[in-house]
């Protein structure tokens, strides 16, 4: 594949270079609007028919002190004409809006890659803040890369001068100038961005016009002689994808829409109890705007009230849903036990982040698997599902709703900060192809009398709405008699109830598909077993290893608990099993425990996703 670096080395050419895929990273101060620039560039990639994956990487502070390295916010996108599964290991192009952005990101740039720097921000003050004693734009320290520098700040100020904005406001248009340049570089249509700006600033036409002027100026700057020869234009052809209607989707949107779809398929109103926490809050935001779908959202006073109110709503006959991230899930632990004990349906979404404790709120990790599977007092089995990508989160949310209402159980859906924030193209599903699973409440006294803890063939108890005549009963967190539900501490009864709760959750395995193999054969030398957002990196690494002739397969687990029935047999059909995880080996432990398989961990806990190269190395070492 021709990289940007190679094109730059090949010298000047008026033609637009065709590339298979390019990785661009926009980096600037938290206040520079890099997430917005990245988001709009993503949309532009989508509209050009490229496949893509994105990685927003931002600090926990809303506005960290300006110019500091810890205040740098970055957005990486990998777009291409083939299938794109990850945001790319190393960028081909780095746009650095200040010295701190350069310092924190340049190390990862491909050798020979392109740096576009706003030299207007490389002031003595900003250089000091970033920890530079000499200006790196001048001292030759960036020689292994291609450096293009110009005063984006001044160029933006010049471009928006006619609109009479204050200096601060005018400089806020810098990100649109940068976007304009990027659109020129990658041969993109400006009109969708102009439409978007007109929509965004429809209440303030001057701001819309100023931003559009900055966008156009950045584009024109590329067109003119001013940087001719220094920066080449690139074109990435549309990726061959199945025909249909597409949109971009983030994991948080997909979870929200999946929950709406799930409750519609279940013919249920939804009650969502939430409490703000990074990176889970956006699910609450999306659902709050969808009241016409029979959704009540409740911003509770704390995480415990968020889940407790959802349990109350499930008891009253709606589907209770709550969402949080690790620290909030910890607070919900006792209430999850109550939902297990009272056998009420409930969906709990955990958008995992770096831990323990407050940890790394805006960074990604998969370290809540133990918490999801084991993290409660007592023998408290609960189904756990993990989404592998933003679009997969839609189907996973529907599956979580199905299991919750069919088995009368809380279900945990695991995503993570990366899935939640990252965007990818999504073929809009045709809802008529989804099979409805309408909930049937018990509303009359069954033959032989009503027993609140009687069981159906799935071992689920009946769901009765308070208000139903003839079915009055009480439930609670205390151990209950096996069918009447009255308080019962007797030894044999507790044994029987514990066994039933376990058997019910184990039995969910009967309603889920067998574990498939994503790439490669069932059986062979090596299986790379993953779960969650490591999907893209594992997929690419296994594909590349197989292209080199290595006997390796990729298995990706959606149903973490209970696992598909064929899992043990499948894992034992490989000589070796490795489990890459962004934790210290949690799925590995579960696999070893459940199947006595010698699964070997491959771990990374840096707050950053795996790169493809890291996993290629792990595969090669395992087969060496």
């Amino acid at each position: 594949m021709a990289s940007v670096a190679q094109t730059l080395e090949s010298g000047s050419s008026a033609a637009i270079q065709n590339d298979e895929s390019i990785v661009v990273r926009f980096a600037g101060d938290s206040g520079d609007g890099m997430q917005l620039t990245g988001g709009q560039f993503t949309l532009s990639s989508a509209l050009s028919g490229n496949d893509f994956a994105t990685f927003p990487d931002f600090p926990a502070e809303i506005r960290a002190p300006q110019g500091t390295t810890f205040g740098v916010s970055a957005f990486q996108i990998n777009f291409g004409s083939g299938a794109i599964d990850t945001p790319g290991d190393a960028p081909d192009v780095l746009v650095a809006m200040n010295p701190a952005a350069l310092k924190t990101n340049v190390g990862n740039l491909k050798p020979g890659g392109l740096i576009i720097a706003d030299e207007g921000e490389f002031t003595a003050r900003n250089l000091t803040k970033a920890g530079y004693t000499v200006n790196p734009l001048d001292d030759g320290s960036l020689n292994k890369w291609q450096l293009v520098k110009f005063n984006i700040s001044q160029l933006t100020l010049d471009a928006v001068k006619p609109f009479g904005l204050g200096n601060k406001e005018a400089l806020r248009c810098k990100n649109m100038w940068t976007l304009g340049l990027a659109l020129w570089m990658f041969d993109r249509d400006r009109q969708p961005m102009i439409d978007w700006l007109n929509g965004k600033f429809k209440k303030n036409q001057v701001l819309a016009d100023a931003n559009i002027a900055a966008l156009n100026a950045g584009h024109a700057y590329g067109e003119t002689i001013e940087i001719g020869g220094q920066v080449k234009r690139h074109h990435v052809n549309p990726a061959p994808v199945a025909p249909g209607l597409y949109r971009t989707i983030t994991g948080a949107e997909a979870v929200a829409y999946g929950l709406v779809a799930g409750t519609q398929l279940a013919s249920m109103p939804m009650f969502f109890g939430g409490y703000p926490i990074t990176p889970a809050s956006s699910i609450l935001h999306y659902l709050s705007a969808l009241k016409e779908y029979g959704i009540t959202t409740f911003q509770a006073e704390d995480e415990i009230a968020a889940i407790a109110s959802a349990i109350g709503a499930s008891y009253a006959g709606q589907l209770g849903v709550t969402s949080s991230s690790g620290p909030g899930i910890a607070l919900k632990g006792e209430a999850i036990g109550l939902a297990i004990m009272t056998e009420l349906p409930l969906v709990i979404v955990n958008s995992q982040r770096g831990g323990p404790s407050t940890g790394l709120p805006t960074k990604t990790e998969q370290s809540d698997l133990y918490q999801a599977v084991y993290g409660r007092n007592g023998d408290a089995p609960m189904p756990v599902i993990a989404a592998r990508s933003p679009s997969d989160a839609f189907d996973c949310a529907i599956e979580a709703v199905r299991i919750a209402v069919q088995y009368m159980t809380p279900v945990m859906l695991l995503t993570d900060g990366y899935i939640g924030n990252a965007a990818e193209p999504w073929a809009v599903p045709d809802m008529s192809t989804y099979k409805p699973f309408p909930v049937k409440f018990l509303d009359t006294v069954p033959e032989g009398g009503f027993k609140p803890f009687s069981r159906d063939e799935k071992l689920a108890r009946p769901w009765v709405k308070p208000g139903t005549p003839g079915l009055i009963h009480r439930i609670g967190g205390i151990e209950k008699q096996i069918d009447t539900g009255h308080i019962d501490y007797s030894p044999a009864n507790h044994q029987a109830m514990t066994d039933i709760r376990k058997a019910k959750v184990d039995g969910i395995a009967n309603s889920i598909p067998d574990q498939d193999v994503c790439i490669g054969a069932a059986g062979g030398k090596l299986a790379v077993v993953g779960w969650g957002s490591t999907y893209g990196a594992i997929h690419q690494a296994v594909s590349r290893a197989r292209a080199k002739g290595l006997d390796v397969s990729h298995i990706h687990i959606r149903h973490i608990w209970p696992m598909p029935k064929n899992m043990g047999e499948l894992l034992h059909s490989y000589d070796k099993v490795i489990v890459p995880e962004m934790n210290t080996g949690q799925l590995k432990t579960v696999l070893r425990d459940q199947y006595l398989v010698d699964a070997k961990p491959v771990n990374k806990v840096s707050g950053q996703p795996f790169t493809i190269a890291e996993l290629e190395v792990a595969i090669e070492e395992s087969l060496a």
Partner: protein, 346 residues
């Protein structure tokens, strides 16, 4: 509320379950249970439309003994669970049963927010100034110096005043009653009639771990001089009408006055106005010192729109004119179409 004409008449028996009541013999909870079961038939409600939600503690066993829907939840969380129940089905008549530890210690946060939001429900706080179920530790309402297994030398921290807490949280109905007192059903009826969160503190005697802690005003001999039963529009008289409560206009606090020959007006006794928030504050703060009685009955009752009605109203309002169409929701925002030859249309 429910349409009373469609509801079958009930008797106290209809509100009793077949479950064996498991409180200690002589516990004040028995009297409260009887009072509630006696009151329910007079409220014009039906058992299947009624839900009792409780947390953890002796009082929280209550739902098992009421022939209604019931949810015995976890420690401190009754208010939060009840909020979900009521928002999911506002037709239900929701009663929260809690205690001083459950509502003011482990669950204090939820109590505050339920009252602030004004969820339409009745909250009965059984205050016995002790942790009974965990065998006698002091509670957030225990008086300074309470000797307990966790405070063998006497507690040193100052207690919370439940009604003052409720007032501070923004409650619109605040009342007090005594477990064995004949006025309890009257207070319960007033709480039920109030649209919004009705906060009722019930002084409940724990015969095992804190016996007679309220005796200075609940004992028969002390009732007259130390119980001030408030009634809206009536003068604040106690001790058989021989004493009353008046306002010390100079110091701006309440004072006790002697009423001679029943002429309470001459003595300057205040007429109780349940909507007067300032006087309610002063009444709640009365302590058994300097000849003051404890204020009982409905202290404050001034309804405001309820949280559940506001939530439902907004759900309806913002859904007006919108048809839920999942397929078009999924296709919202900027989309593009890929044709068979891979051309893209934005």
């Amino acid at each position: 509320m429910n349409d009373m004409t469609t509801i079958a008449k009930t008797t106290p028996k209809d509100w009793e379950t077949d479950q064996e009541v498991r409180w200690c013999p002589g516990c004040g909870d028995y009297a409260i249970l009887k009072a509630v079961q006696r009151t329910m038939p007079e409220l014009g409600v039906s058992p299947e439309k009624t839900v009792f939600v409780s947390g953890i503690g002796c009082s929280s066993r209550f739902p098992y003994y009421m022939e209604t829907y019931g949810f015995h939840t976890i420690h401190g969380r009754a208010c939060a669970v009840a909020t979900g129940v009521k928002l999911a089905n506002p037709e239900l008549d929701v009663w929260i049963i809690t205690g001083d530890g459950d509502a003011l210690s482990i669950g204090g946060n939820h109590t505050m927010h339920l009252l602030r939001r004004n969820l339409n429900c009745q909250l009965l706080l059984f205050n016995n100034e002790i942790y009974g179920l965990t065998k006698g530790q002091y509670s957030p309402t225990s008086q300074v110096g309470t000797k307990s297994p966790s405070t063998p030398f006497g507690s040193v921290d100052r207690p919370a005043t439940p009604c003052a807490f409720a007032m501070g949280a923004g409650a619109r109905f605040i009342a007090r009653a005594i477990d064995t007192n004949k006025n309890l059903p009257t207070v319960l009826k007033a709480a039920h009639a109030h649209q919004g969160a009705a906060f009722v503190e019930i002084f409940q005697n724990c015969i095992v771990y804190n016996d007679d802690v309220f005796a200075p005003f609940t004992e028969k001999a002390n009732a007259g001089p130390h119980q001030l039963w408030l009634e809206n529009g009536k003068p604040m008289l106690f001790d058989g009408g021989k004493k009353g409560i008046a306002l010390d206009r100079k110091e701006l606090h309440l004072k006790t006055v002697d009423v001679v020959d029943g002429d309470w007006e001459a003595a300057g006794v205040i007429v109780h106005d349940v909507k007067n928030r300032s006087v309610a504050h002063m009444l709640i703060d009365l302590r058994l010192v300097d000849g003051f009685p404890i204020a009982l009955g409905v202290i404050f009752d001034d309804p405001r729109p309820t949280y559940d009605s506001a939530v439902i109203a907004q759900n309806i309002e913002v859904s007006k004119g919108k048809t839920p169409d999942l397929q078009s929701l999924l296709a919202k925002g900027q989309t593009w179409t890929v044709e068979k030859d891979n051309t893209v249309f934005g």
